[in-house]
Amino acid sequence: MSSIRVVSPGFLTTIQDLGRYGHAHRGISASGAADALGLRAGNLLVGNAENAPAIEMTLTGGEFEFESDAIVALAGSDFDAELPLWMPIEIKAGAVLRCRGTKSGARCYLAVRGGIDAPLTLASASAHLLTGVGGRTLRKGDVLAIGESAVRKPRPPAKNPPQSERSATVRVTDGPQSGWFSGQLYEAPYTVAEECNRMGIRLTGTPIPSPAGGMLTEGVALGAIQVPPDGQPIVLFVEHQTTGGYPKPANVISADFWRLGQMRPRDEVRFEKVSIPHALDLLQAQERWLYTL
């Protein structure tokens, strides 16, 4: 079986697919690619099903030696691999693909034709780092088997791929407690804090008065913006806790989840409120782009 050897893992590199759904009532959040749009596009370009396991790199990429010929695609942010992104690339046996520090956003995906053949936990290969479910970060010397799950021929290069910005506007819809807040979330930009990981993205800025009185713990959705008593918002991300007790003025729209996955410490972010129908139109446009691949 063909395989990839991890020569160097980079800063924080894991195997991800689209996550494990259907277990939140047991306290298990979905995990999955932080920029699912990037992962899906990478997979589609090499001819995989969109949810095939691929390699997710964070901020600084790894080096990977291919033990046989392979077809790969890099998607997401430019990690200085001196290869074009968003298109299938042939790699010769023995070649080493070298990624370096990011030149744009936080995450880059290395999708391999056939998928990474990784063990499944609860039907997903996705590592959930906080809980240890589904694997760990990759280490030097790890050998990753390449699967045989390609479903079609490799595709032409993607046109108009998404580009992350270091000063982004993220669209949101009202959260369950939006009525408790008076719009401060939309007044000024926030800065992404150093504590920014797959579980949550902490923001710093003008504190938002946190409404008095507690609330009962309730379920929390991906992309929920919660405001703890210190008034600094936290965006709950792919490894989020399944329930929580802080009020939530807003929730990031599905079409902008990928932007969360590309955020890095010290980025600036502004929130813009949109209606649910508009959010769904934006999602449909994104899906249409994906299916041009």
Binding site: Y21, T131, G219
Partner: protein, 214 residues
């Protein structure tokens, strides 16, 4: 009961804002009725609400709400009275297994022995699982045992730690940071991702801690 959007792909069904057996039953029945329906991504039950996350490519909010209302009507008519499971969790109390037992005794004015007897004599209810894989929110801690959390949380609490935090008690299913007072340890695996049934407890279970010697 209210149904309102929590995001562009979820609805929050709220049965009120207090903890009671009646609301628990409503959450329990709706969670069970919604389980496994096409287009749903995740169900997040809690004390008095159920968050329903769906795939916006398959369902919109109106369709998801219609599904919820349909299930609510069926469940209200069915009046389930299914006997809940009783799960026993063996616990080694005190000593090296319960480093904070003395603190709980000091705070409550009870002897360590009385703390153990009271904790193990009570039948608890699993209101729901949440926060972390396999973590059960339990109802029923005797008020005399309520003890404030540690002022500085531990960086790592071992899996299987049985603890009291404020007016709640529970078991840490995975190693994690934590500020609850540890009074004992169980070898029961509350979360085992490699097992066919990875989570030991289920919403609606009754639970007893059984004092055991190592």
């Amino acid at each position: 009961m209210t149904i309102s959007p929590a995001s562009d792909r979820s609805l929050l069904v709220a049965f009120g804002d207090s903890i009671s057996l009646e609301t628990h039953r409503q959450v329990f029945h709706l969670t069970r009725a919604m389980h496994g329906l096409r287009g749903l991504l995740n169900l997040h039950p809690a004390y008095a609400s159920l968050l329903v996350e769906f795939d916006p490519r398959f369902l919109d909010h109106a369709q998801a709400e219609a599904l919820i209302r349909e299930k609510l009507a069926v469940e209200a008519a069915a009046e389930h009275h299914q006997e809940a499971r009783l799960v026993e969790i063996p616990v080694y109390y005190g000593g090296e297994f319960g480093p904070d037992l003395a603190d709980v005794a000091a705070h409550t004015g009870l002897t360590p022995e009385q703390v153990i007897e009271l904790h193990a004599a009570t039948e608890y209810l699993v209101y729901f699982l949440g926060f972390a894989p396999g973590f059960a929110y339990l109802g029923g801690l005797p008020a005399q045992l309520a003890t404030p959390r540690l002022s500085a949380p531990r960086k790592r609490v071992p899996a299987g730690s049985v603890a009291i935090g404020g007016n709640q008690t529970g078991v840490y299913p995975i190693p994690s940071p934590g500020g609850w007072r540890i009074i004992g340890h169980t070898d029961a695996k509350l979360f085992d991702p490699s097992a066919a049934e990875p989570v030991l407890l289920r919403m609606g279970d009754r639970l007893r801690f059984v004092r055991t010697n190592p």
